[in-house]
Point group: C2
Chain length 396, copies 2
């Protein structure tokens, strides 16, 4: 008989995906330019020219060589290039043997959870958080333990996280720059987290692994994004090229098991990651885009485009009197809903053709998320609708 949990997951798409689908339908009805779709993190900045150039170059390889299976962990030269880049950028002795290529950050997190948890364990997630974390944690037979971050800085509440840890705690997932709020955890905040995890790990008698979800690492606005393995050794970095290279549909990323960890322990964690990849049916990451990722490993992201979007949107919201969190990274704006029920606010926004995601699905009431990675023009054209929405509340 079919698995009812899987049926439920397939039949009830995430709030984000649901709104995205509504947007596609609505655009077909009234025109692409009449709908202001802030629902999804699909970059509007094109992939760097080097992506196309690399593909053109790669197509000269013999097809049998180009499209062949790679080893499960990835093409050796690709893993080496990525390890070298990590070593060069963050000053740690990163080894190719600790880089496991994946079909994107979602896969990276799912298999990292598979590697460092056992059924019955608990995984701590600071809220608000990317809602699929809950799905992947529960798929492993584990429970999610949500710990609210500090409002309005949205930095980690390390004390509250510490209080939530018990013998069942296997791992913590962090995501900085953060989706949905745009916060970037400070070095001080991460150092406090590391010290707490060290201490609590000793207290409960087993290590606590830190899963660091970093698809937005390259997208920041003038702040430092500390490299987590340099602060807490027991880290699995989950990286993706979806946002950095604007390749969200091509599905390529990696898990990096930190070389700052004890070498024997890192070996064990790495094999568990590889085992989880195998168990999930990931044969290898798509090989053409493994090679593209390696060729573009130090290609800069076009942060300027997002910075301009951010400025236009926040200046307009300031003027209209919306309350929001100034984002230090990623391309999401976390805006206070104009009524306590964020879903009701999102529904009312729809009447103005504004698609914004209610915060409830991120494990937090009373806010909405606006993805401003969209076309500049859409943002500019949406401003009257945002104004009308605000005024409709002011008039009440």
């Amino acid at each position: 008989m079919i698995d009812e949990r899987m049926y439920g997951l397939g039949n009830a798409p995430s709030a984000i995906r649901e709104l995205f689908a509504y947007g596609l339908k609505r655009k077909a009805e009234i025109g692409e330019d009449k709908v202001f779709d802030y629902s999804i993190g699909n970059p509007s900045v094109p992939a760097p020219q080097k992506v196309a150039d690399t593909i053109e170059e790669l197509m000269k390889l013999p097809p049998v060589e180009l499209h062949a299976y790679s080893p499960a962990a990835g093409i050796p030269a690709v893993r080496q290039t990525i390890a070298d880049s990590i070593a060069r950028r963050y000053g740690i002795p990163a080894k190719a043997g600790r880089v496991y290529m994946t079909v994107g950050a979602a896969a990276s997190i799912a298999i990292s959870l598979g590697a460092v948890t056992n059924a019955g364990d608990e995984v701590i997630v600071p809220s608000p958080y990317f809602p699929e974390y809950k799905v992947w944690i529960e798929t492993m037979g584990c429970s999610i333990v949500e710990v609210p971050t500090q409002v309005p800085s949205f930095q980690l509440d390390v004390e509250a996280m510490g209080a939530a840890i018990n013998e069942k705690t296997a791992a913590v997932i962090i995501n900085s720059p953060n989706n949905p709020v745009g916060a970037v955890y400070t070095r001080k905040n991460l150092e406090a987290l590391a010290a707490m995890l060290e201490e609590k790990g000793k207290e409960i008698g087993h290590p606590i692994y830190l899963i660091s979800d970093e698809p937005y690492r390259e997208i920041t606005y003038g702040v430092e994004v500390p490299y987590v393995p340099t602060i807490y050794p027991r880290t699995l970095v989950c990286y993706s090229y979806s946002k950095a290279l604007s390749l969200p549909g091509e599905r390529v990323g990696y898990v990096y098991v930190s070389d700052t960890m004890d070498a024997e322990e890192a070996d064990r964690v790495f094999f568990a990651v590889a085992g989880a990849g195998r168990a999930h049916g990931y044969i290898c990451a798509p090989v053409l885009f493994q090679r593209v990722a390696a060729a573009c490993v130090d290609e800069p992201s076009d942060v300027e485009a997002y910075a301009t979007n951010r400025r236009i949107l926040t200046e307009a919201l300031d003027e209209m009197g919306y309350e929001y969190v100034q984002p230090d990274g990623a391309f999401y704006l976390w805006v206070r809903a104009l009524e306590p029920d964020a879903q009701a606010f999102s529904d009312r926004a729809k009447q103005h053709e504004l698609l914004i995601v209610p915060s409830d699905s991120f494990g937090c009431p009373g806010w909405v998320r606006m993805s401003y990675c969209i076309a500049r023009e859409t943002i500019e054209n949406s401003l009257p609708a945002l104004k009308a929405l605000k005024e409709s509340y002011d008039a009440e």
Copy 2:
């Protein structure tokens, strides 16, 4: 703490992968042309020219459109093209809404198992079988029940399969054309299976789903490969373009939930497939190769090359006095080991630089699998080694 099962899976690669890795090492030591690597199903036939032409054409699309996320189930136009192709080729009313794009057949099977099993269930697998089935079945918390096929035809032993069914039986996996033996199940054999599954399903009070793993569908030597959904409605077809288009590393395939099934039931199964894809962290199948697959959906596979390899190899083995199963499809030759212990035979073959996979890992003692999808030249050059191996046994 790390998951010991995952650690074990990652630390102990499959016999196939292990031999493949040994081959890479050995080739580096003594030269590419000195090692006769029959270990892995990496096609030596290049992808059709249309693949490269399609990629060149696609690269003219705006990158933001080309590389964007697709819906989780795939690009609507791609799903429609595939459904139309199924309808045209097999005469069933295939709908796009029942096609779920995946990162290859492995993913297709893993999520099909996720959809139609619950922890504690049993899944019947005719042996010999592709060894990863066991990994994916056990990952779902289920047990594999191996039922030997008939020797020497290697057709399904439907009576024995029926006897293995009980209330815990959730699904059956079949793979025709078959890896590792090259058998293609006849229409009569499949009809007997369907009748038995219908009857047993009534007896145990719940449906039994048939997961039909079909990456080798296009690679056959003059025999019919009946389309399973036309024979048994409760079928999930797991397809891949890895072998059909020689794109094993690019990871693209699909699950097709048969439209011959009751529509309401098919909807439920489809949503469960979608849910399992979500739970596994598959955001979407790689979009560039989704489009390539659609463009090449009816591109013929270069079966002629494999047919010639098959002829050269089997004629030589006939002359040397090896016993083997004449393959009707796929590109594997199932050869009787020259001693009862297949692992010992494979080890001895290594001394002649012949890499052949012992049958034990396929759930069957006493045979070896030779992948003849390799370069023609390698086969020709390997013949003296195969002869010497045979003679070394004859001399005993």
